[in-house]
Symmetry: C2
Subunit: 372 residues, 2 copies
Amino acid sequence: MDYETPQFFRVMEYAADADRDVVDMVSGSPDWEPPAALREGLRTYAGADPADFQYPASIGLRDLREEIAQRRGVDRRQILITNGAGEANHLAMLGGLETMPGGEILLVDPVYPYYAGRANFIGADLSFVSAAADGHLDPGDVRAAASDETAVIVINSPNNPFGVTYGADTVEGVLDVAEEYDALLVSDEVYDHFDYTGRFSSALSVDSSNRVVTNSFSKTMAITGWRVGYAVFPQGGDAAAELLDDARTRHMLTNVTGSRPAQAAVLHALRNTDPEYFERNRERLRERIATFTEALDAAGAEYTQPEGAFYVMARFPDFPGTFENVFRLVDEAGVAGMPGETFGTSRGDWLRFSLTTDRVAEGADRLADFFE
Amino acid sequence: MDYETPQFFRVMEYAADADRDVVDMVSGSPDWEPPAALREGLRTYAGADPADFQYPASIGLRDLREEIAQRRGVDRRQILITNGAGEANHLAMLGGLETMPGGEILLVDPVYPYYAGRANFIGADLSFVSAAADGHLDPGDVRAAASDETAVIVINSPNNPFGVTYGADTVEGVLDVAEEYDALLVSDEVYDHFDYTGRFSSALSVDSSNRVVTNSFSKTMAITGWRVGYAVFPQGGDAAAELLDDARTRHMLTNVTGSRPAQAAVLHALRNTDPEYFERNRERLRERIATFTEALDAAGAEYTQPEGAFYVMARFPDFPGTFENVFRLVDEAGVAGMPGETFGTSRGDWLRFSLTTDRVAEGADRLADFFE
């Protein structure tokens, strides 16, 4: 077992060592302000009674679970507060692997590398279904890739790295496949507040005991380092009860509970943040998308029009998405992106650019100049 | 796999439902103030730049690791910041089980129940060595209980539930056994700031590639809910490197990283808290110990004189430490303690009382009256 330095560190380190100014379009950490109520919530918590500094319930602060339950239209008891979506995905994937028949986890290629790393780590067999040419996922392709061996199917919408948003048909179609093969659908929806189409459909919109929805406030509130996430488990039936028990036990024996200052501040922010905050973030990203895709047009690049999340996948003529070419872009263009090959095999010729920088226009100009 | 409600919840719920006022001497959550600099550190962090709200390094904030490394006299690269000592123990126990020969985890009875729960959960065979009559651990007894099957030995000093502090001879003796059987000693030292004897000896005082030291700021800074802990891994040799790699990878793929607000505030508190803060906490506990043990004397109880941590183990005449008797004490005396049977088999006749309440004197009076 190796400590795998995440690939994006390789690019970030290379960019940091470069002799020139580089526009960082590598990582997915928001560069914008969190909700004002989040800062306020943390400040208030800093003055709380010592009793409020002690263990919350292992499954998370009750008021936070209640607040999330009301917003998501589920029972509070279905919710487990986790150390970010990372732990939520870990619990859901491992729980599905242990409780469902089969030993395989089915992922979408191009894939968010943590899913593949985690699936490998927990000893699953991996299989992949390729996204369609437009970045969308065809449930028919998922059905063709699934088998009795499939224990877990993981999807991510709005999607990293492709920037597409799956509609209700896709989510329902994939869930049908999960039910058909007695598999667990893990639907990671961390970018749900960054849908630019209005078409986003949560897997919670379909009632099924074969799906776990994971989410976090990392992107929603621009706090990837705070680690407040959650999983919504299905209700009803022995299998669903076992899945939830399994996750609660694993969470308790691994982490005891999530960090309370962050939970308290997120709760305060949930209660005191206007929808305008989220709309402003979407508007900012819409502008960045327009700026960046105009430059891609100018550079003669092929790209997937982003419908959600923060990313653009692009392909430049005769410039495959290798580490070598990414390093060349750093040195010669002053722009750092991610090699397509780090997201699987289906888009190895492509590059991913993250729009989480206020220098998107500068990055776009540099790319347009370089490929001119 | 069942979601095991921790046993102390059973007692706390029973006490909460009682028709009378009950002095809560069940849980080990401090009831005193955290360092002022901790509150200040969190307030300052609440006003930080958005970049400081994003992912820290997976292994923890570099400055925090450096600060801990200097204090503990180790290399920063040996330190992994975890989600409390819970995760540190999880990583160390599971890492030892996977990298050392043998499939058994050896625990001390009476045992902190989380160790046994975790060892069961990760599929280890459990074996136990009984503490001596005075609560101390005899390395000769550990040697007699160990075998080639022993992969991990877990000790806790100052000790929960026994309140004893192991000296250098004990720690060195147990480490010798670990080396002899090619096992990993996991030394959980979360109560290291609560030693009333001056005799406490950290396992870090002996250089060995067979020991991991775990710790946290939960007790030290009275913040059990904040979840900032760490593990110090050994240095040198392939086995040590593998152990550290294994823990880093598992930590990254499970949690990504620990919560940053809590890490930032703990770092500020470490840098700006006088030794007097910790001495005041010890003084408060010394007084509570004196008050409580006087009452135990009056009640004709046998007890272990606390040398560290927050707990007193006591045995009353003809009153074994069962749940039934604990519930009776709640109803008839108005004091809630923990049944000895929840800590293993060797002290089933005993009760554990936690001194983390400012009503220790009231609890002591009630017990003295009840057993008079």
